[in-house]
Amino acid sequence: MTIQLTPSAVKHIQASLTKRGKGIGLRLGVRTSGCSGLAYKIEYADEMRPEDVCFENDGVTIVIDKKSLPYLDGTRLDYRREGLNEGFKFENPNVKSQCGCGESFNV
């Protein structure tokens, strides 16, 4: 069970958390939505919940609920610039197909 963060992702998450001023880390998850069934959730984590699993990566805490974990196991989270946009990219080995816009995926 691993989740990897690229150095640029670590940097951005730390900067974001400092700017926000609270939160124990980052919560990753999946929810059912979009055209291909599942979509990523990426939000600040303010607390651990009983169903959560926690990962440490270069000082950044990543929180994932147990239901989402199988879909995210082995994911490498990158923060990158594409054209004019900057943002997080999930490099997820579990994904079998993605919808055209990349918002949702299938495993």
Binding site: K41, I42, R49, E86, G87, K89, F90, E103
Partner: protein, 624 residues
């Protein structure tokens, strides 16, 4: 696709039941109901009482007392203890008829009534809000937290002002109003869902102060209101008043002090209530003057002195059936709502009229609140949690809505008994060349002439670009939301200039004005059509006169003296007939003037074509 970090969602677990309540804000009593376990139940107070008397008292020490504990003060402190405030909602002093029949001190004002009380001047909205606050507290205590939203019921006959006032009162009480619901419709929800019976039903709702009759069709889970009628000034209070008058007569009483009036009304009411179970009721009271009253009221006498009140409820019944184009035989069931329907003579009269006994399975006092609770529950999103709650609700407008057009005629945009919520649009245009503004006058009623209808609102659309008469396209849209509140907007189509108004009149219709307006529209149907025809012809005449005069100044040289004289004569005659009321004579004069000017119009046309073509090459004309 690149993702951003978002704030965490509210950690509300999914599919948690939200707290919602239905409130029956009644004239004499108010109730609150909810569906805490998926079953609608009325919520009692800490002493187990379901009905909260709609009485508010402003006490000596700045305290506000609502309900049972305020009741004794009705007699002792009439000016500071307000009952039946629902009758004052959205009303002006002029609407009340004889304001002296109320034991209150009125503030002289032209808008909604205000009462002088110990706690300062209060309007009906503020007083109603106190009742709603008490119900809110009761519900929140029992449901264990703040209410997500409420559905408040109103009589089907409440006009926009009264609905708006009710909504404001709820907001003032800190309630989130999901929607206002017509009381009979709420009753239908309570019955329809409990029994799942399809067919056409009549809801006969005789409350403390209002009478409503609604014809509803229930089919495949859909409630449709086919017609509504009623009398906004008829209710159980009137039966009390009849008994009160009977006491005055029998005891030969002199004019009474305010507290004695209250005392006797209370005695009268308890006698009425006794008679629902017994054949006789004692009437005993000691007045402040020391006069002692001891009478016995029999069911027979009671039936006799209230016979005309019972009869009065039958007229709206007949009208509603006629509006719905139904006969008595087509009615599958009759639902009785309101405490006053416990009176045996009412049940007899209804059974006789419909040739079947009315439905009384549910408590007539509770049924409206129960229905409101069911709807509130669905509106906050608990619907999916309870099975079998998949229904739509159609409601209707009580009176037609329209606009004033040239000559003071009404153009109806929304017909009476149209299903709401709704949007209706119609295009209008300018009447004069270069007209840059349009005055929009929204009216309510069934008559053809504006002066016979009720004015709801006026506003102006400015900034229309100058064009010839009839070229501008102004779309006027009437929108009625689920609460029956109206907004009207006007938009000039080429420029997009817009103006709109929300109808929120300062006060409502006079007592039984709606009923009168409906009656008159039937009685005057023929006159109205005549009047409409006359005004339309007058408008046409004005237009012809103006156009011709304009043409004469511009192209008068096209005519010789004799022709000119003929046109002048025809116009003079037309102008004369225009002032009269003779439709046929006016029509003849109009036709004559049209004939007299036909040749002139033709010549003008030729001239303008010539002008247009002068100096142009043939190919540009053909291609252009």
């Amino acid at each position: 696709m690149l993702l951003q970090i978002t704030e965490p969602d509210n950690p509300a677990p999914l599919r948690e039941r939200k707290r919602a309540a239905g409130i029956d804000l009644g004239t004499t009593h108010s109730l609150v109901a909810s569906m805490p376990q998926g079953v609608a139940t009325v919520l009692p107070d800490e002493k187990g009482r379901v009905l909260l008397p709609s009485v508010v008292r402003f006490g000596e020490h700045g305290e506000t007392i609502v309900g049972h504990s305020a009741l004794p003060w009705l007699v002792r402190d009439a000016a500071n203890t307000i009952a039946s405030v629902k009758r004052l909602m959205g009303r002006g002093l002029a609407d009340l008829g004889d304001a002296r029949q109320f034991p209150y001190q009125w503030v002289q004002t032209s808008g909604m009534v205000r009462l002088k009380t110990r706690a300062g001047e209060k309007n009906p909205i503020e007083i109603s809000a106190e009742i709603l606050k008490a119900l809110r507290l009761r519900a929140e205590t029992q449901l264990g937290g703040a209410l997500e939203g409420v559905v408040v019921t109103v009589p089907a006959y409440f006009d926009d002002a009264q609905r708006q006032a009710t909504k404001e009162a709820a907001r003032l009480a800190g309630l989130n109003v999901l929607r206002l619901l017509n009381e009979p419709t709420a009753a239908a929800i309570a019955y329809g869902l409990d029994h799942g019976a399809e067919g056409v039903y009549v809801i006969y709702d005789l409350g403390g102060g209002t009478f409503d009759v609604s014809v509803l069709r229930l089919s495949r889970g859909v409630f449709e209101v086919l017609a509504t009628h009623g009398d906004s000034a008829l209710g159980g209070d009137d039966f009390d008043h009849r008994v009160f008058c009977w006491i005055l007569e029998m005891a030969h009483l002199p004019p009474l002090a305010a507290e004695d009036v209250r005392l006797l009304l209370t005695v009268a009411r308890s006698a009425k209530e006794t008679l629902t179970q017994h054949e006789t009721a004692p009437v005993v009271a000691v007045l402040s003057t020391g006069i002692k009253i001891e009478l016995i009221l029999t069911a027979e006498v009671f039936t006799e002195i209230t016979r005309h009140l019972v009869q009065k409820t039958l007229t709206p019944l007949k009208r509603a059936l006629r509006d719905a184009k139904l006969s008595v035989e087509e009615i599958k069931g009759v639902v009785l709502v309101g405490g006053a329907t416990r009176m045996p003579q009412i049940r007899h009269a209804v059974a006789e009229f419909f040739k079947q006994p009315p439905l009384v399975n549910l408590d007539p006092d509770e049924v409206v609140a129960l229905g409101a609770a069911i709807q509130a529950n669905a509106l906050v999103g608990n619907r999916g949690l309870d099975s079998g709650e998949d229904w739509l609700l159609l409601d209707v407008t009580p009176l037609s809505l329209g606009l004033e057009t040239m000559g003071g005629l009404v153009e109806k945009i929304v017909p009476r008994n149209a299903s709401i919520p709704l949007v209706r649009a119609q295009d209008f245009t300018t009447f004069k060349d270069g007209q840059t503004a349009l005055a929009i006058h929204v009216v309510q009623g069934e008559r053809e002439k504006v002066s016979d209808c009720r004015s709801l609102a006026r506003f102006e659309l400015r900034g229309i670009p100058p064009m010839v008469a009839g070229a501008a396209r102004v779309r006027i849209t009437f929108q009625i939301d689920a609460d029956g509140l109206l907004s009207v907007s006007a938009r000039e189509q080429t420029t997009g200039v817009e103006a709109s108004v929300e109808v929120k009149p300062s006060y409502g219709l006079a007592e039984s004005e709606i009923a009168r307006m409906l009656e008159e529209s039937l009685a005057h149907a023929r006159d109205d059509m005549q009047a409409r025809a006359l005004v339309e012809t007058q408008v046409e005449a004005d237009q012809l006169i103006e156009l011709t005069q304009h043409a004469l100044t511009e192209d008068g040289d096209l005519l010789n003296e004799r022709e000119r004289a003929a046109i002048d004569a025809a116009l003079t005659e037309l102008a004369q007939r225009r002032q009269g009321q003779e439709l046929n004579a006016l029509r003849l004069a109009l036709a004559k003037a049209n004939r007299a000017t036909a040749e002139f119009a033709g010549r003008r046309m030729d001239r303008s074509v010539q002008k247009a073509l002068t100096g142009k090459r043939v190919d540009s004309v053909v291609l252009g």
